[in-house]
Structures are given as C-alpha cells and as structure tokens.
C-alpha cells in the first residue's frame, strides 16, 4: 500500500512530463528531444533564483511553468520551425527535428552542468517544507499529494480541451491531415506554438515537483526521464491522453515492483524492455488509433 502511493506519485510525474510530449507528437508531429532538458532547466532556474532569495512554493512553481513554456517556445521558433520551413518532405523533417532536438537539448544541459559541476541541486532555500501526512499506517508527503492532484486535474483538462473545444478540434485535425486542416482555416503555426508552450509548461511543472519530492535532481535526470516518457507514450498510444495515464501507471508500477524485488540496477531496463515489447506486439499502443504509417 505504501509502495502504491509511491508508484502513484511517480506515475503522476511521468504523466505531467509525457503528456506534453505525447500532445506535440500526436498532433503537430514534433518529437521534442529537448523536452527532458526543458524539464531539468526549469528546476535549475528555480534553484538559481532560490540562491539569492527565499521564495514560496507557488512562486517556485510559477518560475518552473514560465521558464518551461518560454524554453519550449524558443525551441519551436528558433529550431523546429526553421527545420520544417527548409525540409523537403515530412519524413526528412521528422528526422531533422529529432536531431535538432538532440542538439538543442545539449545547450541547457551543459549550462547546468557547468554551474553545478554535475552535482545534484535542490530547493533548500525555499520557504516551503515537505511534510508527511499520516493516515493510519501509511503516509504521503504534501508534495506527492499536490503532484497527484495536479496530474489528474491537468490531464483531464487537456483531454477535455482536446475533445470539446474548437481549438482542440483544430489541433486534432492537424494531426490527421495538416493540409486539409489549413484549407479549413486552421492556423497551424499559432496552434503549434500554443501546444509547445503548454507542453513546456507541464515539463517545467514536473521538474519543480520532482525536485521538491526527491529533495534534489541531477542535470542529467532529464535524459533518463525522456526515455521513460517515451516508454509511457508508446505503451499507451501516441496522442492519446488516456494512453499516457495508463502507460505512466504501468511503467511506475513495473518499476516499483522491480525496485522492491531486485537490487535496483535493473530499474532502467524495465522502460527500455517495455518500449521494445510494445513496439513488437502492438505498435499502436494500448489506446492507439490505427495508423498506416506506423507499421
């Protein structure tokens, strides 16, 4: 039961992180490899801000959200839009975006590594204290609780927005056929920017929450999370919000089981193995739409 709470809060971090990736990949065809760096650098910026002054929990969260959104927007405008403009077809654009993302990801990573000397950094100066809430034999920290609630609320809000609002419909139409969508008056560029901003904001949020909940994170933690988020997305199905949830919970549960049963070094193999397995057995994921291009 105690493990279940831990798995649930871990899954919620995965949801917040992977939801943005899944959203951009499933709709505007951008698999952003800088997503992990954006996640890490948002927390790192908050850490820098906390060096000079003590800030409350909400200010720190706000910093993470704003920095994440801004970095994601910058990546889109300076790198991905330029690549799409120059690419001759969709396939080569996809590949250039992947490589461009890898390049962009190195930049914030090396800045953070330079200042922290690759040591973990945390929010010691924050006025917010992590406390345990006990009920019966079990406990949950306030950060874990906030993470779980935020992941649930934001996930449902995203799913609702995608399904019910006009912009959500427009965004999904881009995912199906961007040319027809633009004929129907959908402004692809504006929607792409908005989607990237939302994705970045959620990554920043996840960065702040994970740093609070673990106490400290390393500059390299973004890379690991990127592969794990990938596993979550593949597991559930690209572009499906419910899929991200299911994938995240399955991965977090599997990792918790492995962590409690073995010496811990095998944990990373779980996500890589799951990616492999799902791609083989059901490439479109559990909730994925059937898509010809995929297999």
């Amino acid at each position: 039961m105690q493990e279940l709470i831990g798995a649930l809060s871990l899954a919620s971090i995965y949801v917040l992180f992977a939801l943005g990736m899944s959203l951009t990949w499933g709709t505007i065809d951008i698999l952003n490899f800088a997503h992990g760096s954006i996640f890490m650098f948002s927390a790192f910026t908050a850490y820098l801000a906390l060096q000079s002054t003590s800030l409350s929990f909400f200010v720190v969260l706000l910093i993470g959200v704003v920095v994440g959104a801004a970095m994601s927007l910058l990546t889109q405008v300076l790198a991905f839009e330029q690549i799409i403009k120059r690419a001759k077809d969709k396939r080569s654009a996809e590949m250039q975006i992947l490589i461009g993302g890898i390049g962009v990801a190195i930049i914030p990573l090396s800045i953070a590594q330079h200042y922290t000397k690759s040591n973990p950094f945390g929010f010691e100066n924050s006025s917010f204290q992590v406390t345990k809430i006990t009920f019966g034999d079990y406990w949950v920290t306030n950060v874990q609780l906030i993470t779980i609630v935020l992941a649930a609320v934001l996930g449902i809000a995203t799913a609702w927005w995608l399904r019910r609002s006009r912009q959500g419909l427009a965004l999904r139409s881009i995912g199906v056929d961007s040319e027809v969508a633009s004929i129907m008056g959908v402004d692809r560029r504006k929607l792409a920017l908005a989607t990237m901003a939302v994705a970045g904001a959620m990554a920043g949020l996840a960065g702040i929450l994970l740093t609070y909940s673990l106490g400290a994170i390393t500059p390299e933690s973004g890379d690991t999370l990127l592969v794990k988020a990938f596993a979550c997305i593949i597991l559930g199905g690209v572009g499906s919000t419910a899929g991200v949830y299911l994938g995240s919970f399955l991965l977090a549960a599997a990792e918790t089981v492995v962590l409690t049963q073995t010496n811990g070094l095998w944990v990373d193999a779980v996500s890589f193995g799951l990616i492999f397995l799902v791609l083989l057995v059901r490439p479109s994921g559990i909730f994925g739409r059937k898509e010809v291009r995929r297999t």
Binding site: I107, D268, F272, L280
Partner: protein, 319 residues
Amino acid sequence: MMDFFDSNVVLVQATFIGLVLALSVQVPLRMGVFSFAGAGSFGIGAYLAGIITIKYETPGIVAVLITMVVTAVIGLLLGLVISRLAGLYLAMATVAFDLIISVLAINGGELTGGPTGLYGVLSDFGTIHLVIVTLVVLALVAASEIGRTGRRVDAVRDDPELAASVGISVRRYRLVAFVVSGALGGAAGAMNILVRSTVTPQDIGFGLIVLALTMIIVGGARSWKGAVLGAVIFTWLPELLTIVGDWQPLIYGIIVALAAIFLPRGIHGLWVDSRRALQRRRREKAAGGAAGVAGDDDDDSGSTVIEKLKESSEMEATP
C-alpha cells in the same frame, strides 16, 4: 610527421574507430532504415572482444573477426524482429536495444565487471591493424555506393514502392542493412577495447548514439565521405575546444542544432549541391551564348530539354 603521430596516437585511433561507428549508423540510414542499432553492437562488440581476449588470449585480429560475425548475427535477428516498424518507431526501438545492452553491461556481474566495466584487456592489436581493418571496411562501404548496388540502395531509400516494382527485394536490403550495421558496430567496439584496453557501461550509453548521429549528420548522411568528415571533425573538435574549457559541450550542442537546421545533408551534401549549382550556372551561360548566336526560339527550347536530360542522368550518377 612521426612526432605528430606519436603525440596524437590516441586521437588518430579514435578517428578511425569513430569512422567505423559512424558507418554502422550511416549504412542503414542510406537504405532508409532509421536504426541506431550500431551503437548497441558497439557495446556488444567491446564487451565480447574484451571477454574473449581476457579468457582465451585470442589474437587481436581473430577477436575482431569473431566479434563481427556474432554482432552481424545479432543484427540479423534484431532486423528480423523489428524490420516491420518504420520511421521514428524503428529508431526508438533501436535506442531501447542500445540502452538494454548498457543495462546488461551494468548487471553482468563478474563477466562484464558491473558498473566499473572491463579493464586490463591487453592485446597485440595495434594502430596498424586498426587502420587496415578500417580501410577495408571503408572500401567495401564505398563500393556499395557506386554502380548497380548504389542505385538500388538509393531506390530502396527514396522510393521503396518503386524499388519493389522493378524487382528489388526491399525487405532483403533492409535486413542487409541490419546485418552490416551489426558487423560494423561490433568491429568498432572490438577495436575500441583492444586499443584502449578498457570499456565501461558509460562508454556505450546514450552519448554514443548522439556521437554517431552527429558525425554523420554534420558530415553528410549520403556518402562515406560524409562519415569521414564527421569522424575527423568530432574527434578533433574537442581538442581544438580545450580553450573554452567545460563550455565545450555547449558549442557542440550549438553546432549540432545549427547543422540540423541549415545543413540537413551535411557538409558533404553542401559540397555536392554547390558543385552542381556551379556546373549548372556554367552550362546555362554556355547554352545562353549558343542560343544567342543561333537566335532561334525553337533551338533554345531544344537545348533546355537536352540539358534537363543531362542533368537527370548526372543526378543518377552522383550519389
């Protein structure tokens, strides 16, 4: 010359190993298979060559050949399993394959040395062997870029349906891509441990994929010349960048991002494109002069058709 060689022998070795690694990712890419399995084969190759050298004291060149056969077979099996995937899905499956190899290396216990890796692998494999193996491999890869094979490979990449319709077995070519990638990656990994005598799980992680990819993207993905350019640039660039200290990765990242945006076909592609553009301009000038002398509209249009034909045949000839 000898002084330069002696003082930079590690970098010279790294250049050749980097080249073989880059080719292991480039060959499948040239056949339209977005596979990073070469990096995983590098890991398998490094550990396998290290283990057989320690246990059986195999001569260096034999160890490399055994490793290449094993990684080629693993490549074939991997290809049989995942060749039905395409694009980014295939890419991520191979990334997962690579990372599983590094997790296996960490958890291999005494056989792989766990997180500290293998060390003290002493072998008679020297720089001269390294150079010979690399040149043989390079010659074979270069041979696959010209003539019939070269055109078939281009067809399989650019238009698989068309290739299949003219009787090229696309599936077989894709499987060959996996086999060759496995053998090349294995060779690079084996040679790496035999000349450096050590390997750790960190050496075969995500960074290796990024390195191989950046080499061929910046150098050029369509030709072995691009791989050579990339291997030279990214082995020696860190040397040149020592002045900027630990800001080195930052510059590295900026270069990769800029290359992805502005040089989608790499430095080699830029060279090919500019040479072609120059030729075209020169020919247009010559054709313009000829048309001016003839002073006839019909002649003019006739010459452009011939030119287009010439140009298209030229495009087929140069990969």
